[in-house]
């Protein structure tokens, strides 16, 4: 059974149960409701890393546009790489976070409730997208505004035409730009964060991550193919990659872990967006109080210490 179908089935079974409860008269519905919620907790509490990945890819999961409209005021999109293209997989622009002017850039996997993944290449950026992102990063730096990124991509777009235009080179430049940007950078990892494509927008002074988002050098399917010849061991591969929000929080890479509603972010997108917005506000006000040199010093120190703990 396809994973989406499985989650859908569980969720609709629970919903049906809930509905029948309300139809039953004269019974202790509170008690039954409590049982339903316990059942839900049990199903999802022991969630595996592979399930996290399925949730990170869930078609109902909140995406960039949900965060843009739910958190920011007056988001105004800015387009184009200034070389000759505009990549729809990267979306960015200017906005206000409360009264603070900010620059926002992220991977656009699809529109809010749309099935239009293909149009945005599932958030897989081309070199043009990385050049657009760099342009916006430098804009943030020039005007001293905080940069906020949203990461949601299986990886950079792998194709002959992106190779011709220097995919590797654009990623290297993007990482370099981000690492040395002289303005506060806050990264929100909201879904899949795959490989160099994720890293191109994926590091900053504060890292916020959803608990079922997944950050890794390679997809578990591809890792399984390399280890075992096919993707049948993707569950083990996912465990070996240890890239869930909970994993990265326990490694100290993630500063703020956003708890998802039972069953995943798709069950209450508004709550997840709200929680992310609150943490984001806190990070921005913290970083705006700091001296820019101090921010740069701290970022350099964090990058230099970005090593696995021994033992």
């Amino acid at each position: 059974m396809r994973s989406k179908d499985r989650f859908h089935e569980i969720d609709s079974a629970l919903k049906e149960l809930q509905e029948s409860i309300t139809r039953i008269e004269g019974m202790d519905t509170d008690e039954l409701a409590r049982k339903v919620s316990m059942f839900r907790e049990e199903i999802y509490a022991g969630i595996s890393r592979w399930s996290s990945i399925e949730l990170a890819r869930h078609s109902g999961r909140p995406v960039l546009d949900d965060y843009l409209s739910g958190i920011f005021r007056d988001f105004t999109e800015l387009r184009g790489d200034r070389i000759g293209e505009d990549d729809a997989a990267i979306k960015g622009g200017l906005a206000f976070l409360d009264d603070v002017p900010v620059v926002v850039v992220g991977h656009k996997k699809r529109s809010s409730r749309g099935k239009d993944h293909a149009r945005y290449r599932y958030g897989m950026a081309s070199p043009s997208g990385h050049h657009k992102a760099m342009r916006l990063m430098k804009l943030a730096e020039k005007f001293g505004r905080p940069l906020i990124t949203f990461v949601d991509t299986p990886g950079a777009y792998p194709a002959p035409e992106t190779e011709y235009r220097g995919q590797a080179f654009s990623i290297a430049q993007c990482i370099s730009t981000l690492a040395s940007l002289k303005t506060p950078v806050i990264v929100c990892i909201i879904g899949e964060a795959g490989s160099g494509g994720a890293l191109a927008l994926g590091f900053g002074d504060r890292i916020i991550m959803l608990e079922n988002a997944f950050y890794s050098a390679i997809s578990p399917e591809a890792f399984s193919s390399i280890l075992y010849g096919d993707d049948s061991n993707k569950e083990q591969a996912a465990d070996a990659l240890k890239g869930s929000g909970r994993d990265l929080a326990s490694e100290g890479i993630v500063d703020h872990l956003i708890k998802e509603p039972v069953g995943g972010a798709q069950n209450d997108p508004a709550a997840v967006v709200e929680a992310t917005g609150q943490v984001l506000r806190r990070c921005v006000s913290e970083l705006l109080k700091m001296d820019r040199e101090e921010i740069m010093r701290q970022r350099a120190a964090v990058i230099e210490r970005l090593l696995p703990s021994k033992g």
Binding site: G166, I171, A172
Partner: protein, 245 residues
């Protein structure tokens, strides 16, 4: 014909060219710097052979590893050290594809960063020979973060010129990090240089790939690298840059 090819080994008297399938006498191939006489195919070189080819004889001194605890810090997929080319001192980082596909994990990242820091301290020019399948994915997120760490270390170098010589094959997170950010980008003829491996692209696109789409020649035509340098000219070309900088 296949029987003849099967017995051909690199250590033996004969070698089969993987590009044109001609059988070549090993000694002659070695004299020609491991370049095929028939089709100009540049054979892959291990780090030791590469160092022997580029440096003045006996000039290579391996960089003493600092602060290394235990086996995990030992990484043969890159050799780093100080050497002379035509009498001019420089620092060298030479990757070896025959060791774990030249993959970049924590240990390799550390060696690269130490080499870069040495370049910044001494002001010596730094030359990388890359050969790698990308980050060491077995190390999970830590492999990926070596891209960030090496880029960050590269950006700290203000005193020394940095040169990358892409050799066959260089792909993934090595191309997409420090290697792409050198001041001068050179490549050996025919080297595969790219981001995504052909298998990954095929899985996503379900279509045949154009031949040579990641070849050094294609990258040169598309403006991604500065020059292609045949192996016999490498010493002289590098000498030019060492004199110029």
């Amino acid at each position: 014909m296949s029987e003849v090819l099967d017995v051909a080994k690199k250590d033996g008297r004969w070698v089969e060219c993987p590009s044109c399938a001609e059988i070549i006498i090993t000694r002659k191939l070695q004299e020609n710097l491991w370049v095929c006489h028939h089709c100009n195919h540049h054979f892959r070189l291990g780090a030791r052979d590469r160092i022997g080819l580029i440096c003045d004889e006996g000039s290579f001194e391996e960089l003493a590893p600092s602060d290394h605890t235990g086996d995990e810090d030992f990484d043969d997929a890159i050799k780093t050290g100080k050497a002379a080319i035509n009498g001019m001192l420089c620092l060298l980082g030479v990757m070896d594809f025959s060791h774990k596909g030249g993959s970049m994990g924590v240990a390799m990242g550390r060696k690269i960063i130490e080499l870069m820091d040495t370049a910044q301290e001494t002001g010596l020019p730094l030359i990388f020979f890359t050969a790698s399948g990308g980050v060491r994915i077995h190390e999970g997120i830590w492999g990926l973060f070596q891209m960030l760490r090496t880029v960050h270390a590269r950006d700290r170098i203000t005193r020394s010129p940095v040169i990358t010589v892409f050799t066959d094959p260089t792909t993934g997170g090595v191309t997409a990090s420090f290697a792409a950010l050198a001041d001068i980008l050179l490549a050996e003829p025919g080297a595969r240089i790219g981001f995504a491996g052909p298998r990954v692209i095929q899985t996503v696109l379900h279509s045949e790939l154009p031949e040579d789409f990641q070849n050094a020649e294609t990258l040169l035509a598309n403006g991604l690298i500065d020059r292609i340098v045949p192996r016999r000219d490498l010493r002289d070309t590098l000498s030019f840059f060492l004199r110029w900088f």
